[in-house]
Structures are given as structure tokens and as C-alpha cells.
Amino acid sequence: MDHPGTPAALLQGRGLSFAYEGALVLEGIDLTLRRGEIVTLVGPNGAGKSTLAKILVGVLRSKSGSLAVQKGAVIGYVPQRLHLDATMPITVRRFMALGSPAQDRGASALADLRISHLMGKQVRELSGGQLQRVLLARALSRKPDLLVLDEPGQGLDIESQGELSALLAAVRDQGSAVLLISHDLSLVLSCTDRVLCIDRNICCSGSPDSVVHDPDYHRILGPRAAEALALYRQRNGGAEVVDLPKRADSA
């Protein structure tokens, strides 16, 4: 079914744009996601990263252009936060089952993230980090062709961030596409194949090493970009926290 290594366009957006109350937040976005790659969106606050992710997964509709998603592609979405009302009683087990009806898939996804013990807990009683893990497990249990994560690093400690990047790499290597939005530059650099720097439109894109040297990237992200560059150099000096094999065929 899947052919890892042969990149097929899973999702293709052309000329995407969006406006809130007449204020343009995204404009002329062209983007293609292929199976077997991890793409990261970086950009300042209010750059439209979350909005773009919502357009790609079908929560919002682009005001212009076209969006083609491969037929039958399963989407796993990890939102930045859950709007669960405090009056909603629902256990993690049931919440997982609403994502994928196959019970064992939910259980094994929880086990993969080492949170099986949360199974019987109420979702509203989870801590921020626990909720992030449950949302991620839920998205993974759907066996997504496209996994979209909006700021998954929030609430995770450094150790679990290494775990997260290893996990995303595994998803990619199974032939899925991963779209990541992250402020966390160490996470971005440790597992991304391609970086898109956006601020209303796409400013620059490419492999992490080419983007961290791009002047546009520095213009948009300011001091944080310098920090990333330092981090990047440190990494290439041999201080890798997470050891991931470089892929020869990365886009």
C-alpha cells in the first residue's frame, strides 16, 4: 500500500489564503507534503502557522486557491489545546475510541507512549503534559497518512522531547507525512527534513541547515534565529541529544 522512499504528493495546496475579520493572515501559500517526510512550520507569533495547519486538515477553508488531499488519506491532528468543557465526563479510553473504533489500537498507542495507566482517567483531570501525550496517542492510533501536530512540545520535558522526535521519525519511516508546528528549535532541528518559515506567506524553505543560514529566516525570527544557529552548530559539533540517521533521499 505505502511505498516508503517513493515520494508521492499526499497533499498539495496552491495559493492558499485566510483572513480573520478582513485581516489577511495567510496569503499565497504554495505547499506540498509527501509521504516519508517531516515538514516543520516555523515563524513568529501570529504568523498564521496554526491557521495554515487548520486549513490543511480541513478545519478551516482557504479563501482562495486550491487544496488537494490524496483520496482516502487518514488525518491525525494534534491541536494546540483541547476545548473540552469541564462538565464533560469522559475517560481517556472512551476518548481514544472516538478517534479510532478499534479498541486494541487505542490501547497499543497509549502503551507506545507509556501512558497506559491513564486509560481509566477522566480527560478533564489530566495535566498539560499528560493531555498532550493522550492527544498524540489518539492521533497515532488512527494510523494517519498525514500527522499534523500544533506545538506538541509544550508541556513536555527535555527527555520526552527526544522521545517525541524519535516517534515522529518512526511515523515518517512508516511512509506517512508529518507536519509539525513548533517553537522549540531543538525539536525542529533534531527531526525535521524540511523547514518552512512563514510570516503570512512562505519566506524561505529548505533543509534545516540551509534555512538556519537564510537571511530571511533571521529577519523574520530575530534573536531566536541566532539561537537556532548556535544550537545547530553545537549539534554539528557532536553534541547530538537524539541520534537520528540522516536520510539520503530527504526532500
Binding site: Y77, D85, T87, M88, P89, I90
Partner: protein, 270 residues
């Protein structure tokens, strides 16, 4: 046996409580308590239209309520007005229009109090039949849209991303709500319908572990409110509608003190 007015009142009230329970839970989860109020306010416009056109008020109230629901969705989709502002606009606009329309109907002796507070003791066999049918419709339709409606109540973005757009389910849900408010109006009155939707659901929230569990609990509490309220009204000769609501209130307050009591017991035995 249905010739006994008290039995008819009990049956009608219990049926409404059972229908209101699942809808009330969704109202609470979706934070739409004011929508119930807005529907109730708009009922007056429906009543005026019904009298003007000489058709059954249940029908016109349901139609006006449905129109309100659709208008609300439209206003919200445009994104120009916040949810509560849009609701206030619709609810008070409909109330003003309704009162104005009623004032034009000269020579009409309208039992306004009857509409505001209802009269469950006067429920007829025909009305019982209508409520019974409504119950079947509500339960059937809710069962069909349960999963998408539940997921979109948990998080509408998540529902949309997973291809279970909740918007259709939401429209259907709002229409059901409008229907139920219209049908329940004669029994508990427009002012108290929201109470019957909200109070049992609110009372059940802390005690349930699953959404369905909360619905079952809300239904039981609603039935208990109706039975308790009606018995009390018979015993102390109090108005029936308000007695039911006060019974629901008493149950809500008792339910609030249950979880702390449970914790106390748990820590005592530890």
C-alpha cells in the same frame, strides 16, 4: 386509567424529563445555556403568530425556534458577533416582537401566565400522544448523530479534522431543541423549560464518568424532579411547574454536596 388528570401530568412530565436529559447534557457541554433562554423568549413570538394565524401554537413556536437556531448559526458563521451578543440580540428581539404582536390583538383574552408557567395538570391525552411521538423522534435522531455530535462537543476542530464535521449534527441538534421547547411549553411553561434542560444535567455532571452515564443520571434526576415536584404540589397545593423546578433545584444542591461527602468517606476509611 389515563382519565386521571394527575396520572396524565405524571406521564407527560416524566416523558419531557426523559427527552430533556440528553439534550440538556449537550446544552451544558456546548455551553449553550443561553440558547435555551433565547428559545424560550422567542416562544412568545411563536405564540403570537399562532394566535394570529389560528394554528396550533406548538407548531408556530417550533417554527420560530428553528428560525432562531438557524439565524444564530448564520450570525456566528459570519463571525461578526460574539456568541452571547448574537444570542442576546435574537432572544430580546424576538421577545420584543412577540410582546408587540400580542398587544395588537385586541379583544384577545390571553392567558399569558399559562404560557409563562405552563399547566402540567391540564395536559390532555392528545398532548400526551404528541409528547410520546416527539420522544421517539428525539431519541432516534440523537442516536443517529450521537458520535459526531459528541466529538464536536468535545472539540469541534478535532471533529472536523477527523472528517466528522459536527456542523450538520449541530443544526439537527438545535432543531430538536426548538421542537422540545415548543412541546414542553404547555407543561412547564416557557420560563421553566430551560431549568428542566439544565438543572438535571448540571446536577449529574460531577457524578458521572462517561457522557452516556451523565445522560442516564440526568434522566433519573429529571424524572425524580417531576415526580417529587408533582407530589409536593398535590400535598401542599403549590403551582405544579415551579414545584418541579424547585424539586430539580433541591436535587442539584444535594448532588453538589455528594462528591465532597464521598471524598470524606474515602479519606475516613483510608
Amino acid at each position: 386509567m389515563l382519565d386521571d388528570f394527575f396520572l396524565r401530568a405524571l406521564l407527560g412530565g416524566v416523558a419531557i424529563a426523559l427527552i430533556a436529559a440528553p439534550l440538556g447534557c449537550f446544552v451544558v457541554w456546548r455551553r449553550m445555556a443561553y440558547f435555551g433562554d433565547a428559545l424560550a423568549h422567542s416562544a412568545l413570538l411563536g405564540i403570537a403568530l399562532g394566535l394570529l394565524l389560528d394554528v396550533d401554537t406548538i407548531l408556530t413556536v417550533a417554527v420560530v425556534g428553528s428560525a432562531m437556531a438557524l439565524l444564530l448559526l448564520l450570525l456566528r458563521r459570519r463571525g461578526r458577533l460574539a456568541n452571547d451578543t448574537a444570542l442576546g440580540l435574537l432572544s430580546h428581539g424576538a421577545l420584543g416582537l412577540g410582546l408587540l404582536a400580542l398587544s395588537f390583538m385586541e379583544g384577545l383574552r390571553l392567558d399569558l401566565l399559562g404560557y409563562l408557567f405552563g399547566d402540567v395538570l391540564a395536559v390532555s391525552k392528545a398532548q400526551l400522544l404528541v409528547i410520546g411521538l416527539l420522544g421517539v423522534v428525539v431519541v432516534t435522531v440523537l442516536a443517529m448523530i450521537w458520535r459526531p455530535l459528541l466529538l464536536s462537543s468535545i472539540d469541534s476542530d478535532l471533529a472536523a479534522a477527523e472528517g466528522r464535521s459536527g456542523s450538520f449534527a449541530e443544526v439537527v441538534f438545535l432543531l430538536l431543541l426548538a421542537l422540545v421547547v415548543a412541546a414542553a411549553m404547555k407543561l412547564v411553561g416557557v420560563l421553566l423549560i430551560t431549568a428542566l434542560l439544565l438543572l438535571p444535567a448540571a446536577a449529574a455532571r460531577g457524578l458521572a464518568r462517561t457522557p452516556e452515564g451523565m445522560v442516564v443520571l440526568a434522566a433519573s434526576l429529571g424524572v425524580a424532579s417531576v415526580v417529587g415536584g408533582l407530589e409536593a404540589s398535590l400535598l401542599w397545593d403549590t403551582p405544579s411547574g415551579p414545584s418541579i423546578v424547585v424539586a430539580a433545584l433541591v436535587l442539584f444542591v444535594s448532588a453538589q454536596s455528594l462528591p465532597p461527602l464521598g471524598r470524606l468517606v474515602a479519606s475516613g476509611t483510608r
